[in-house]
């Protein structure tokens, strides 16, 4: 096994036993990046020099006996995380040359634990998209089949795991942006409950929906990385002051006696037969492991996409007002006077999908439409949230598909934004309800593309879905399948 193929826990054992050094691991990962990057393009910035410095520092810590689970582990971050001194673009031209003067809370936590940062990953511009095609820095390709999208918006985070260009990565999930690419690339991806992980230093798309989460090779790594970034942060007013459980320790508790809900609205006509088959097989596996299934209803599912696109774009239209060419970022060289400077700077700096969402969000908040669109959407959000709370009175978790189909072809949906939006139908409700969800590899299509299933937990029920995901992983071989690149 090559060093770049290992999981966090496998590499950690080798580092701890001093079988390999962190510098060796970093070199192996950097060489792998160089080898496959021309085909995959998962990265916006590779931080080779910094990575080797981080690794040397990690080796010193290890030599001194100070070995944390993450010390010396090569990690890459979606380019939405602010990294002090390392360019952070959010895949936008408007931040093409932005060098942050500070680290976000997650980044600071990982640095403190000795992570080796190997680079910043591609994504949809400002996390707005489901395919990583809206990046200013070009598309990322699915390592399983490079004609296909890797999913999005955290496409680089999932592709880098599938192509073994990092041991683990972090992404963000506003409407499925971790779970859907994880599903399309055959990785494990978890969106925590809103408030579980600090958003400080993470570029905002939609503040009431955004959450940070891990994308990893297996469930154990997912638990390790979640535990590392979770927790209350006084710098984020929306982070929740609840203790962080020992997620790793709880993994092996099994699913015997767990009640799993199957929302009937998620098993619809448009569901791809291969996806359906994979989910059915997963149900059978769980039954054999002693879990119980109950059909439940989430009656407002059909309204989730519309609700999401009003709330997310409204918040985004305001969150992205700060990119005005005054204090940082791109400024148009063409403009005469202030008003023109704003309009040209933003026209040049933002791509079409970002502009489209700013337009929609501005419209939804504008005078005369606020109640009809924004407030209406927030009320429907209440109904969707109640659907989940009601379901969780009967069951411990839900099992659903992640996306209606496996990954689609690059360019297939770019001309029809609405069709693209609808591909997030199974992930969006989880963000609206503020709860947690995980995508776990559960099959491979005839095209050779991975298919994931989604486990949805109660608010702050990450332990339960991780445990269920682990049981499934132990019982199946899907997570051992590798992209042939």
């Amino acid at each position: 096994m090559e060093l770049f193929e290992l999981t966090i826990h496998e590499l950690h054992e080798k580092l701890k036993r001093k079988e390999v050094s962190s510098v060796e691991a970093a070199r192996a990962v950097l060489a792998r990046i160089e080898a496959v990057e021309p085909q995959v393009h998962a990265f916006i910035t590779v931080t080779a020099k910094e990575a080797l410095q981080d690794a040397a520092a990690a080796d010193k810590r290890i030599a001194a006996g100070d070995v944390d689970l993450l010390t010396g582990i090569p990690i890459a971050l979606k380019d939405i995380f602010l990294t002090r001194g390392v360019r952070t673009t959010c895949a936008s031209r408007i931040l093409e040359n932005f060098i942050p003067p500070y680290d976000g809370t997650c980044v600071a936590k990982l640095r403190e634990r000795g992570m080796v940062l190997v680079g910043k990953l591609n994504q949809d511009e400002f996390a707005m998209g489901s395919s990583t095609e809206s990046s200013h820095f070009g598309v990322t390709r699915n390592p399983w089949h490079t004609d296909y999208i890797p999913g999005g918006s955290s496409g680089g985070s999932a592709a880098a795991i599938a192509a073994q260009q990092a041991t683990a990565t972090l992404g963000t999930d506003t409407g499925g942006s971790i779970r859907q690419p994880a599903s399309h690339c055959g990785c494990v991806g978890l969106k925590p409950t809103y408030g579980r992980v600090s958003r400080y230093g993470v570029i905002a798309y939609a503040s009431s929906l955004d959450q940070v989460g891990p994308v990893t090779r297996d469930v154990t790594d997912c638990a390790i990385l979640l535990e590392a970034v979770a927790g209350y942060d006084p710098k984020d007013s929306t982070s929740v002051n609840l203790p962080v459980p020992d997620y790793v320790r709880g993994l092996a508790n099994g699913v015997k006696g767990l009640k799993i809900g199957l929302p009937k609205e998620y098993f619809i006509a448009g569901l791809d037969p291969e996806v359906k088959k994979a989910v059915e097989a997963a149900i059978a596996t769980y039954r054999s492991l002693g879990a119980e299934f109950v059909e439940i209803s989430l009656p407002h599912t059909d309204y989730a996409v519309a609700t999401y696109y009003l709330i997310a774009t409204a918040e985004a239209s305001s969150n992205l007002a700060r990119y005005d060419g005054v204090r940082y970022g791109h400024r148009s060289a063409e403009a005469k006077g202030l008003v023109e400077m704003y309009a040209k700077t933003r026209a040049e700096g933002f791509g079409m999908e970002v502009k489209r969402r700013i337009m929609l969000g501005t419209y939804a908040l504008s005078s005369g439409y606020y109640d009809a669109y924004y407030i209406k959407a927030q009320k429907v959000r209440t109904l969707i949230m109640h659907d989940f709370l009601k379901a969780f009175e009967q069951v411990d978790l839900l099992l659903t598909p992640v996306a209606p189909t496996p990954a689609f072809k690059i360019g297939e949906k770019t001309s029809d934004p609405l069709q693209m939006y609808l591909s997030d139908i199974f992930t969006i409700p989880v963000n609206l309800a503020g709860t947690c969800g995980i995508s776990v590899p559960a099959g491979i299509s005839q095209q050779g593309l991975p298919i994931g299933m989604q486990l949805i937990g109660k608010p702050f029920g990450e332990e339960t879905i991780l445990r269920a995901a682990y049981a499934f992983e132990q019982a199946t071989e899907w997570h051992r399948q590798k992209a042939k690149i």
């Binding site: 995380f81 602010l82 952070t88 959010c90 931040l95 932005f98 942050p100 003067p101 500070y102 976000g104 958003r199 400080y200 230093g201 993470v202 570029i203 905002a204 939609a206 503040s207 009431s208 006084p234 710098k235 984020d236 007013s237 929306t238 409204a314 918040e315 239209s317 305001s318 992205l320 007002a321 700060r322 005005d324 005054v326 204090r327 940082y328 202030l338 704003y342 501005t362 908040l365 504008s366 005078s367 606020y370 924004y374």
Partner: protein
């Protein structure tokens, strides 16, 4: 202005709060630092930065609400006001909109014809913008410069009902509000530095009408004098429009203090649509009854209550109580002096007289008056004991003000003891009468009014030290004898 119209005025006052740090980050709020030196990811509006509310700002808002008889909302919400301007880092201002922290208060002012109640619609918390300035830096030309030190500084916006009916009422309300926020210790009250800023909504309606006219919002008024000028100018302007059968446009107008006029801010008006919505980066603010009660108990005695107490307990006149309660520090000084020399009227006269005069001459604050309440009381004791005359006391006061020395020491060093020895006084009187033989003859022939002249001459000859009562007594005897 033609007497056909009644002016209607509502005021929006922005009060800059006296916290050490900004409303949503830990940067200092000190005035006058190097541009952009008091900044961090939050107040620069950097990507990824998030606001966290300063607890003190909430406490100050509750203080202001209680002092202006408002209801303190159990639950209030911060909202984003979206607009683009270079001094507004995030492209939105965090403010409160639908659910402000204080609602429905009032202040009573002294108006023509008695006390008048002015309604307070609401008080809300918000962040200030930075400053867009034009600086003479070589090579910069026409460009503007942005300093974000002030960005994110905490403000209260206090909005009145349109209850004022003259510029004088508006000024009375503003002065009262200013006095209260300074008393509360939540604002330094500095108008020039912009700590207390006022926008005025001014409209006219036909006298006797109940229907409000279209209003203009006047901005950039930073002194009590200017508010009167601005409103009066605006009254004339609107009256002219109405007289000619025109319509007043609802708009924002900028006051120009140099010209004393207001001018339209068209252009900035372009499609004002602030798209307020609750800020998803902040959580609802819930203020418990206990918190409100704690703040209520910590409130200082407000000027109104102080005045009533001074009048009732000390028997001081309306004028005296008003002057003495003008600032919390002056009232404290008065009370501290009174505790040591319990004669209210005498202490009041000295505080309003010599003390205030001396401070005003140097533009000095009462808090660093060299004549402490203890020294003042000692001086008043000397007068009461007859050690010095009232006149000499003023000389002693000036010396105390200069040196900070004890009055007894000054009296001794300068030889200012009052002369109460009748022999010595008789001697001086004899000299004066001898020197003024002509006037003595005139007095004796019936010019009684000259008596005062002789007293003056004697006091002058004694350098003010002669006991005035004895002078009167002996002089009368000698002249009439």
């Amino acid at each position: 202005m033609s007497s056909k119209y009644q002016v209607v005025i509502g005021l929006e006052v922005h009060v800059q709060l006296l916290t050490d740090t900004k409303i949503f980050c830990g940067c200092s709020t000190k005035f006058g630092a190097v541009p952009n030196s008091q900044s961090c990811p939050v107040c620069l509006g950097l990507p990824g930065a998030l606001p966290v509310l300063n607890r003190k700002v909430v406490e100050f808002a509750i203080r202001a609400g209680l002092a202006t008889n408002c209801q303190i909302a159990q639950r209030s919400v911060f909202a984003r006001k979206n607009y683009f301007y270079p001094d507004l880092p995030k492209g939105y201002q965090i403010s409160q909109f639908e659910l402000p922290i204080c609602l429905g208060g009032h202040l009573d002012i002294e108006a023509e014809g008695g006390t008048k109640r002015i309604g307070i619609t609401r008080i809300h918390m918000e962040e200030d913008a930075g400053k867009l300035v034009h600086v003479d830096i070589p090579g910069v030309g026409d460009d503007s410069c942005v300093d974000l030190n002030r960005a994110c500084t905490p403000l209260l916006e206090i909005v009145s009902e349109p209850d004022m009916r003259s510029p004088d009422e508006a000024i009375a309300y503003l002065k009262k509000l200013h006095q209260i926020v300074v008393y509360l210790g939540i604002c330094d009250g500095n108008l020039e530095e912009g700590s207390f800023r006022c926008d005025a909504n001014v409209s006219l309606m036909p006298k006797g009408s109940a229907k409000l006219g279209t209003r203009a919002e006047l901005k950039n008024i930073n002194s009590f004098r200017f508010i009167k000028q601005a409103i009066e100018y605006e009254m004339e302007r609107q009256a002219e429009i109405l007289d000619e059968g025109g319509k007043v446009i609802q708009e924002t107008r900028l006051f120009d203090p140099n010209a004393g006029t207001t001018r339209s801010m068209r252009g900035k008006e372009e499609a004002h649509d602030y798209r307020y919505f609750p800020d998803p980066d902040l959580v609802p603010l819930v203020v418990s009854d206990d918190w409100v009660e704690d703040v209520r108990l910590s409130l200082p005695e407000l000027p109104e209550m102080k005045r009533q107490r001074f009048a009732k307990e000390l028997g001081l006149s309306d004028y005296d109580t008003e002057v003495l309660t003008a600032s919390r520090e002056l009232a404290d000084y008065f009370e501290a002096s009174l505790a040591l020399y319990p004669q209210a009227k005498i202490v009041a006269n000295w505080v309003m007289g010599e003390v205030t005069r001396a401070l005003n001459e140097e533009n000095r604050a009462i808090s660093d008056c060299p004549v402490t309440p203890k020294l003042l009381a000692a001086l008043l004791q000397l007068i009461e004991q007859g050690t010095i005359s009232g006149k000499i006391a003023k000389t002693v006061f000036d010396e105390m003000y200069k040196t900070g020395h004890e009055p007894a020491r000054i009296v001794e060093e300068k030889g200012l003891l009052q002369v109460s020895d009748s022999g010595a006084i008789e001697q001086i009187i004899d000299q004066v009468l001898a020197a003024e033989a002509g006037q003595v003859a005139a007095y004796r022939s019936g010019k009684d009014k000259l008596f005062g002249f002789f007293v003056g001459q004697v006091m002058k000859a004694s350098k003010g030290k002669a006991n005035p009562a004895l002078v009167n007594e002996i002089l009368l005897k000698k002249l009439n004898g």
